[in-house]
Each structure stands twice: as C-alpha cells, then as structure tokens.
Symmetry: C2
Subunit: 348 residues, 2 copies
Amino acid sequence: MKIALDAMGGDHAPAAAVHAAVWAARDFKLTVQLVGRPQAIEAELAKHQTAGLNLPIIPASEVIEMHEHPATAVKNKKDASMVVAIELLKTKASDAFVSAGNSGGVLAAALFGLGRIKGIKRPALSVIFPNESPHGFCFLLDVGANTDARPEFLLQFALMGYHYASQVLNIPNPRVGLLSTGEEEDKGSMLVQEVTPLLKVSNLNFVGNVEGKDIPAGLADVVVTDGFTGNVFIKGAEGVASMIVKALEREIKARPLAAAGALLVRPAFRALKAKLDYREYGGGPLLGVNGVVIIAHGRSDAYAIRNAIRVAKQAAEKNIVGVIEQGLNEAKSQRDNEAMTQRVSEAD
Amino acid sequence: MKIALDAMGGDHAPAAAVHAAVWAARDFKLTVQLVGRPQAIEAELAKHQTAGLNLPIIPASEVIEMHEHPATAVKNKKDASMVVAIELLKTKASDAFVSAGNSGGVLAAALFGLGRIKGIKRPALSVIFPNESPHGFCFLLDVGANTDARPEFLLQFALMGYHYASQVLNIPNPRVGLLSTGEEEDKGSMLVQEVTPLLKVSNLNFVGNVEGKDIPAGLADVVVTDGFTGNVFIKGAEGVASMIVKALEREIKARPLAAAGALLVRPAFRALKAKLDYREYGGGPLLGVNGVVIIAHGRSDAYAIRNAIRVAKQAAEKNIVGVIEQGLNEAKSQRDNEAMTQRVSEAD
C-alpha cells in the first residue's frame, strides 16, 4: 500500500512529517510517498535511519500556507504539495493521502482534483472525539467543511458517518445522534428540525437529538452537525481541556504539599492525557470525496501524523469510498421500495 | 430591594429555592418574594431560621414543568409561578426576577408579560464563562434564546453584552469578539460574514472573530454568537469538564499510590472546581426584555440560586434596562452623525 504524505503541511513541517513517514513506514510496512520540496525533505530524511524503508520523494515546488485563501491558493499553485498529492491519488499512484496542512486547501484540492462520490452533495470533515462510552470515542462530523448546511447534507453526513463507524471504526450498528439544543424534537434550529424527520425514516440507527454535553457522555457513536457548530464544538472542547489542565497545574504549584502529592498522581494524569490526546487518532477522514483523504491537526507532531497515516491505511484497506457508495445504494433501494409499497397500497 | 424568586423552578424545587431565599435575604439584606404554592413553600421555610428576614409568599397555584412546551405552557397556565412573578416585575412590585425553571418558559413569560426594550429585536440569554484572563471570566451570549438569528440580532447582542460587561461586571471597555471558525474574515458561516462588518463600524470595542478555543483562553470579554451555537458550546464545555474530572478520578482510584497523592492534591482540586463552578455566578441575565430577569441552571442547588439572587440585585442596582436603552441611543446617534457626515461630504 502506498500513502502520499504532504511533507510540507502543518506547523512543524517538514520535520514532523518526514519523521512521521519514517516511523509509519517502519511500523505499518507501508510505502510513504513524501510530497514536497526535495531538498528540504532530503535534509530531514538524513536525520533518520531509513535503510530498507520505502520513502520515495515526489517533487512539488510550492507550498500552500496556513493563512492562504484555500480555493485561490489551490487554483494558483498548481505545483503545491497537496495539489500534486491529490493528483497521485486520482491516477491511482497512491491509495490514500494525509495532510496536516491548510485544511481548507486540502478540501479545495480534493474537490477540484477528485470530485465527490456520485450522489454525495457535500463532503464532510470528521474527527474522532473521546467520550465515556465503552469504546471510548465517537465519530463527529462535519467539523468545518460546510459552515452553512442544508438538511439533505446532514442526512448524507449521517449516512457516511454510520458506514465509516461500522466498517472502519468497528462499532457494530453505531448509534447516530443529531446535535441540537435539547433532545425534544421541537428544540433546535430550523435546520435541525428539518433534518430530524429525515433521519427518523432513514435506515441508519438514529437515536434522536443530543446536546453538547451528551457527546462526551457517550450518548451517540456518530454525531452529526453542520460544519460551523462542529468546528466551534471541537475547538471549544480543546480550549476547555487546556484551561482545566493549566489551572490545575497552577493550583498545584501554589501548594508545596500538593506538589509532592502530584508526583504520586502523575501516572494517573498521564493516563488521562493519553485518553484525551487527539494525537492518538491522528486525523479524521474527509468523507464524500472520491478517494481516501485524511486531514490531521495543523499542530500535529510526528506521532500524530504517524497515527494519521495508520488511519489512512485502515480507511484504504476497508475501501471507504466503496462503502459509502454501497450505503448510498442501499438508502436509495430503501426509498424506492417504500415508494413502490406506497404506490401499491394506494392502488389497492 | 425586592427580588421575586420562582420557588417552584428547577430540579430541586422548592427546597433549593426556599433555602436560597433565606440565605440571600440574610446575606444581601433583601426582600425575597417566594412565588409558588404556599403550602409547599411554608413547609420548606419551617426548616430554616427566618426570624427578622423579609420572605413574603406570593401565591401561584401552577407550575411549568421542565419538559413542557414553553409558549403553550405560559399561555395555558396563567397562575404559574413564573407568570405571576413576571406580573410582579411588570407592576414594579418587584425589582428583579430569578428562576431556575424551564428557561424557555421564563423567556416566553418575559416576552408576553414585559415585552422587549424599545428598539431591541430579540432578547438574548447569557452566561458568565470561566477563562484564563485576569478577571477570570467572559460574558457569552446568546446561549439559547434564538436558535436561528439574523445579523442585526447579533449586532444588538454585542451592544447589550458590551454594556452589561462594562456596567454590571465592571470590565472597563470590554473586548467584544464574534464566535467563528477562524479569525480570518472570510471564514465562518454566512451569518458571521454578515455580522463582522456591522461590528467593525460599531462603537463597541470589537476585537475580531474568535474560535471556540479562544473563549476559555480569554481572547475576548464579551463573546457573541447565535443561540444554537452558544448553547452547544456551553453544554459541550460542561460535558468535557465533567468527562475530564470523572476520568481523572477513575485513573487515580486505579492506582493506590496515586490515591495517596490525591489526598495531598485535594486542596488544589477544590480550588480548580471553585474556579470552574457555574454556581459561583448563579445565573445569567435574559437581556433585552423590559425588566431584570435572571435565569439559573435547572440543576441549581441553593448556593447557585443564592448567587443568582446576588446577580439580580447587582443588575437591578445598575439599572440594566436603562443602560441598554442608553447604549441603543448612543449607537443611533453615532449612525445619525455618520449619515450626516456622509451627506455633508457628498454635498461638498
């Protein structure tokens, strides 16, 4: 299996990306194609033991920076690392693509280069979010691809999330929840109130509307929302977790006895941090485009990108594009059958 | 000063409300009017020392339950505690009203009974949210009154939040931020992109668009958003904090040495909990209605409701309705002046 990696993407590129490629190539027995500026990549590769590993360099002379306007940058920089990598995916020279770069840029490059899966109206950006359920996480989408959404988009996000969670994340018949301001159907925005009836008649395992606090509590395995709300939610959660950790450290430092106790508590802190660490999951798939594209956090270090490569491998092995296509066909059959049943019963 | 308290509102009513009334009447030298079923209130009052305290009972035979549809319940239950209390406020028999009951019900009762401040298009529900800034909190609105908002609503939320933060919360020239998915002006929903230019030309201290993580980080003193996003954000933050605390307790319990250390760390934990405790702030004002209405969390205990009564007292003392009216007038003068200047310069 060949995974294309955006060697120039992310706050710590190219060092973190190249380190991650070496690590993943060794641990997961993969070919990792390093896409970017050859000189910069070679300089980083020289710092690692790479004997026996498959780490080809695919030259790309341009870089789309974090602050650039995604669509404009993708149009103007034809030789940008993410544009070149998407071309590899399109020509089947790669099985999947991983980037910690400008996520809007990856979205734009994927939409221009790969297009959408037939029948999918909008792709969605997703994340694995830790929760208190037995498997310890849920799958949340959209977290930023569509800041304004229509009801039919959210229905398709639910479909894509359901099949990804069951096929790739191995959650049998995952519970699908729609993010709202209360569990009652008359609560929530107009968008939510239009989506709820669509989900209720779907053959997805819709368990109802969930609130913000229900996501960490683990009331649903797949949580569906628009990209604006999802983005605010995950960044808010990140900020709250960071504030709590900092405040606790400050309170401990201010108390000599507590500081002594903290040494004993440290292993418990470490276990907690590992549980909450976004780096364990590495990245979330951009679902709905015609290929396996994994987007990692811009702040990713080598460990996070290594894990994003693992996610890419799993998603490619399970053929997520095919899984979504099949899910769409099943939903269509269900609707056709129901329409047929209705016509028959009306004719009776 | 007379504060009307919904004795029947909240998960722990009437016990928590009556206890809170006794506590607040003593600590803040107030008259607290207990609105609700006299027998239930008297039974609770009998459990406390109330000699010398002003705790009149205002009879109201009905209760709006947490699960009821707000507008319908308010219309049908004319003798509900929150409806009767709003009437007290309207007739100036009370200076402020506090409820931990069905927040949609309080909103509906306030809109029907008091109406909006002249010129205000929609009221907003607000909360004090802890952050890492020197004063330790920011003011966030709307958190649920308007699940679908228009640009002019958000501009007014900013105006109300700015004046509340400066006049009641004593933050000089508070920094106003608009919640979005990135600080760049081309990011965010269509709503955000329409509001940004309105805020830029306002005389509020607009510091730009902020992300979810910037709220706990303290990048703005007043954070403005629609009621859907704000509601998901605060409930999400609550859920994440709860998940972190539970997970840490679990990890500590699993390790005997850590459990010993935890005893020493406990004072630091307590300090952290106090910092994050929503009960310290008690409740948030429903801004934009024609009276002082404070909404407390449904789960409030006596301490939280006691503090909500303190917030009500401060808001009434500072005359928030008058402060908002003045803010509206100033904004209007600014616009008139600018229009005049523009006409003059066009005539030149």
